[in-house]
Symmetry: C2
Subunit: 298 residues, 2 copies
């Protein structure tokens, strides 16, 4: 059986793995997300050092964005306009392809996590769903009609403009691009700016979680109205506050007020808004799945 | 060449047509959207009366929603929870199929218009785009990766929750479900409630158009962030105010603040936010295309 390589390039750390599926990962390494001049050689060295496992048929890369995921574009495989030092306009996929001489699949971290959850996790059997990560940043990937969503570029769901009543919530938001977009109102840095504490140190009954659930549920309502997903998977550091799920499941249908008359927005909402079944491994496992697709283009 | 029947069932009028494409429509009739006991027999009678044109291979129905467009559902082809008198839980497609004994395609009015624009209009060659109608109601359809978007049910983009600053815009909104959702803030009835006049009687420089463009551009920004369309087609009665296009093209990129670095959101925005090329015929022509697909399932 062919072996695949996966690279999950997150905002703070890189995970590289070799294997075929969640139960068959034969090697794995993690290191911090420094600049590409350090990260790309380290990833290449990892795959080369594991040569005794056998040849790798392809590599999949799950990258923080914005990126160019369009195979027909001259800048396919690039990280594009990221503010992350050193990474803007970096030919990530090309560098890996040239070094390892294998096909390379390339997508956003969240689209790739969606692919992983579709193959082995909470989205098996669905054709249209969203994977949302809520952490330092907020990002969303989606599969629609069985294929990952790219369109013009790729979704950037975390920057949704949601209703924000300054009279009841005077926090101005902290997104450097948009101020009070979703990420600016309730991403990790917003939680810290609102409370003066890191989210993981706050009690479950801290009022900030009601605020976080309020904005996330408004965003979910909008995602449902626009994309009509069969399920929404919510992962990321903030969502390890498992009590948020109950709040979000209660609030989301209130924003829709029975306009969409489906059991998924009523009795069956526990199976509609769910955590990733692959946990924090959705990204790297999705990258393995991306590699398999790159090795077997149809 | 096979002939197809199309039914566009809008909120106020029904259009039935027979033909194959925009240049070959051989018969057409319009009548008001009364109850289904009147509308369905009138549509059936129209198709029967045109029997001398030759047999119809299939009928496509573009219906106001919410509807059930899932061919695997026991209520496929039904208008479901509409408040429109007599129409709730009506087996629209089934009644036409039983009467005419032909395959029936069935989708939302806006998905069907998207299909028409994809086949013959402003979305030719694209695989991921949005068709938005702004009239008495606001509704959006979408094609993603070359197929119409359904997912859980179908998009209901007009009911998006957008930022609404009550301090600067005290109008509470007039959606019976959501108050100040997009439709409640700037659909036809909202324009009338805000001004005391019907939109078509207002001057181009009436300030209400700035308000309408403001909310529509916020919604477009959100659609772009969630669905990443390659183009957004805007039709419907309100958009016959052609000056709105310039306002919306200016405002939409401001909400995104260069976060999505694509020419479609800058120099090329005139080709990104566009009117339907089929004008007000996108729905009925899309219904013809829907019929063709129903007659030739893959």
């Amino acid at each position: 059986m062919a072996l695949y390589g996966g690279i999950e390039a997150g905002g703070t750390k890189i995970v590289c793995a070799i294997g075929t599926d969640p139960d068959h990962i034969y090697a794995e390494v993690r290191f911090p997300t420094t600049g590409p001049d350090e990260v790309i050689p380290r990833a290449v060295a990892f795959f080369r050092e594991q040569a005794d496992l056998g040849p790798i048929a392809a590599v999949g890369i799950a990258a923080f964005g914005p990126i160019d995921p369009d195979p027909n574009s001259p800048t396919f495989g690039y990280v594009t306009t990221t503010p992350k030092p050193g990474w803007a306009h970096t030919d990530f996929a090309g560098a890996i392809r040239r070094a390892l001489r294998v096909p390379v699949g390339f997508d956003t971290d969240v689209n790739t996590a969606a692919l992983g959850e579709h193959r082995w996790g909470a989205a098996q059997g669905l054709n249209t769903f969203i994977y949302l990560t809520v952490g330092t940043g907020i990002g969303g990937g989606a599969m629609v009609n069985g294929k990952l969503l790219h369109g013009l570029m790729h979704p950037e769901m975390g920057h949704l403009r949601v209703p924000h009543n300054l009279a009841t919530d005077p926090f101005p938001g902290c997104c450097s691009y948009h101020g009070d977009c979703l990420e600016g109102l309730c991403g990790g840095p917003a939680v810290e700016a609102r409370t003066g504490k890191r989210g993981e140190t706050l009690a479950e009954d801290d009022l900030v979680w009601d605020i976080v659930a309020h904005y996330l549920s408004l965003a979910l309502a909008d995602y449902i109205l626009v994309l009509s997903p069969q399920r929404i998977i919510m992962g990321g550091g903030v969502m390890t506050q498992a009590h948020l799920f109950d709040k979000i499941r209660k609030m989301t249908p209130l924003h829709l007020n029975n306009y969409i008359d489906m059991p998924q927005l009523a009795a069956a909402i526990d199976r509609f808004i769910v955590p990733p079944r692959l946990g924090n491994r959705a990204g790297v496992l999705g990258a393995i799945a991306l590699a398999e697709i790159a090795a077997n283009p149809h």
